[in-house]
Symmetry: C2
Subunit: 467 residues, 2 copies
């Protein structure tokens, strides 16, 4: 079905991109053979890595690949958690790391235009310097690229208030699988001129086109931000409190994160930094943003009172940069800490209606005990998205793999019963592909395949992903 | 390509839906032959109207139509402004007016589940009664159906803060062209399990599937709402002020509407109700929402000061239901007033980057004078979406039609030069189809056609629309 990059084809490709933009050294290829998903089965060596420097160059690479039926797998920072950037059919990995310019911050239209290889934190910082907010905030924001954020429709810590990455995208330049360059949208708040291909591209894991330029929406930076760190004696109390905040406090916080004791301990150990009440079974982080100092104070006092009413042990108010950063550093480091301390793990990304989180968590607790599998649980409780993670303290084998697979099936089954689904922000990639038929109908899977074919008739762009 | 509904096929269809759910009387068919777009060329008689009562019934109708190659055009309230619901290939109009139940308001997940035939106002009212806000607010909210709002990705008066209809949709039940029933999404804040078919369906003008159930996101109802009515001596001053609000006042208002003098006068005449400063060249409506009374007061005082700094003649503060309703009634009645007083008109829906509105408006002014064509201008200035409208005081003829067409081309050309596009919220339908190649590349139009084919290989669902 696909062709290999023969010596002759490799020579042609090198002529197209220039020798400084291509690499075939085995050591180098290894780096581009996996993302952050653990496990040998989620690795695959590409035949070449192209380091793209321009849209025009990418267009030529795609035209070449399309003509010769060579698979192309676009790649951002490689921080993905579903194997989306793994070149499982070989061919070319197209790295966007050199396309890392912030093209323009336009205060008059409240937009920032960037290339896909810009690190998300840099966008946040540049916006903030102009008194503006880029509201996308994945936990990997210090490493992940904005292009990858779009490809996976990354969520993160502010989705509960501002929505996922897709909600901030106003325009994209895209190279289609045949090399055509198109621009969808613009500096436009709304647009119904044709189908919404922006939101179709976002979250499509690089299977429909390569995003080469992005116009993002900015909003005025809230003047005051306060985070509450709230320990609870039991997971049940913490989790049961989550939907109450939205419903009873009559407000949507900017963030509403959950960490169980195991995840907090991992973060503390990784950062060598202690957080208050680290014996507590669970912590919530509740972020409050607003423009009036008094209004923000009123809001956090109201929520603080509610915390105590619903069993919080304490409410720590982080209202300066230092204390806020300390809390968020802990929260954002959990995934990295797991990766550092466990030889193998399976980090999940299930999402349920917010009122079903207590049921989800009690199921995970039962499962963990019944199946004797160590778990750590943390995530974006405010939007029902929990990173249930199975851990292995030892180097793993087929027995562990089979066990994880069996547990995953049980977890997904329960999640679906609760009206939830497999992935809220990490994507399907290759990791969750076998389970997709549990969540989607045959008709839906067939629609995905047909839309994929409409964009990529030769199936050369990131083949073998999603379904 | 398509078949006609022969006597035999009509009998079969009647057997499927029941005789109380189908009508072929000419007088009745006439009602379903057009939407709110004026002009004989935007009318086309269907062969039958089916009044659907359930998803199951729609599924059967689609299976029948798909088998016999009979076109089906879904229709909401018929308030569309692009001819999207006009059955230009004949066949069946499938009216959703009987599917008008609010299925469930779920306070625990902040969602409301509705059928497509529910009037948008009813959703707003029901949400408000529970202290919640449905943030979609098209000007036609007292008449248009939520299903139509989705089909066109309706915008309206709160897009500047809350986004268009699509941003509020969490799940949809859809009948595909072959009769398959699918459910996309759920009561889920985020979801990357497969491609985003919700946002693809939204705004696709009923060409990809028939939306039969909708889960909408609700948010806590802001406790305080104040609207400012701000007259300006010149259109230029009013329009130049629009982007300043967002940039200098460091806030996104809930609404930011513009009415020129002609549109204000029309509304006054239609409602027989006077607004202050009705001699002024232009009025802005600036809506401010929030939870703290003081915070809202601070915000409107700040914006009020800015209004005077930038040339406002006065700032009227509407902080109670009566005055607020009076203002919004005027704003929302403009389209209806035009329709009542002018034998023919052409209402446009162009959208430009917000900092380009002044250039757009000065171009429209020049065009109007140069071409001797009466215009009225109003719209959602805060999101760059202006309803430039060409008016004819007399019954029109080919000369007027040709003139409008020539002016439209000039308008679109300028809008595109300014980085804008044809339609922000009314859609392409049949009205803007001839102009689509001005805005989209051949490649984009080809992608639309291929995606359409992926969903509807026989092209039976709302054929002849968009492109």
């Amino acid at each position: 079905m696909f062709n290999r990059l023969t010596t002759q084809l490799l020579k042609e490709l090198t002529d197209i991109v220039g020798s400084h933009c291509i690499n075939t050294d085995e050591e180098r290829l290894e780096v581009y053979s996996h993302d952050e998903v653990k496990g040998e089965k989620y690795k695959h060596m590409p035949e070449a890595v192209v380091f793209a420097e321009s849209t025009k160059q990418i267009s030529k690479v795609m035209a070449f690949a399309n003509q010769h039926l060579i698979p192309v797998t676009p790649r951002g920072a490689g921080t993905g958690l579903s194997g989306g950037a793994v070149p499982i059919k070989g061919g070319i990995v197209l790295s966007l790391e050199r396309m890392n310019r912030i093209v323009e911050l336009d205060e008059e239209t409240l937009t920032i235009t960037v290339e896909p290889g810009v690190i998300t934190d840099e966008i946040q910082k540049m916006a903030a310097a102009s008194g503006l907010l880029y509201a996308g905030d994945p936990c990997s924001s210090d490493a992940s690229f904005i292009g990858g954020n779009l490809a996976e429709n990354a969520g993160g810590n502010k989705v509960v208030k501002y929505g996922p990455t897709g909600d901030h995208v106003m325009g994209i330049e895209v190279v289609l699988p045949d090399g055509t360059v198109d621009f969808f949208g613009g500096k436009l708040v709304k647009n119904v001129t044709g189908y919404d291909f922006i939101n179709l591209m976002v979250g499509s894991e690089g299977t429909l086109g390569i995003i080469t330029k992005i116009i993002l929406k900015l909003i005025p930076l809230p003047e005051f931000t306060v985070d509450l760190l709230v320990p609870f004696k039991t997971v049940e109390e913490a989790i049961a409190f989550v939907p109450k905040i939205m419903i009873e406090a009559h407000t949507i916080p900017a963030s509403l994160e959950f960490m169980d004791n195991a995840s907090l301990r991992l973060a503390e150990r990784f950062l060598n930094n202690e957080l208050p009440y680290s014996d507590s079974a669970a912590h919530l982080i509740i972020g409050i943003e607003g423009n009036g100092r008094e209004q923000v104070a009123d809001e956090y006092e109201k929520i603080g009172q509610m915390c105590f009413k619903y069993g919080a042990q304490e409410v720590f108010v982080a209202d300066n940069r230092n204390t806020r950063e300390k809390i968020w550093k802990a929260r954002k480091s959990i995934a990295e800490a797991i990766s550092a301390f466990y030889p193998d793990f399976c980090m999940e990304d299930v999402v349920v209606p917010i009122n079903k989180i207590p049921q989800l968590m009690s199921f995970v607790n039962e499962l963990s005990q019944r199946e004797h599998i160590e778990t750590v649980n943390f995530g974006h409780a405010g939007d029902g998205n929990m990173h249930v993670t199975f851990l292995s303290a030892e180097k793993t084998d087929k027995i562990w793999n089979d066990k994880v697979e069996a547990n995953l099936k049980q977890l997904y089954k329960r999640v679906l019963e609760l009206g939830g689904t497999l992935s809220g922000e990490h994507g399907i990639g290759i990791k969750r592909m076998p389970y997709l038929p549990m969540a989607l109908s045959q008709s839906q899977i067939s629609l995905i395949k047909r839309v994929k074919r409409a964009f990529d008739p030769n199936d050369i762009l990131n083949p073998g992903k999603i379904c």
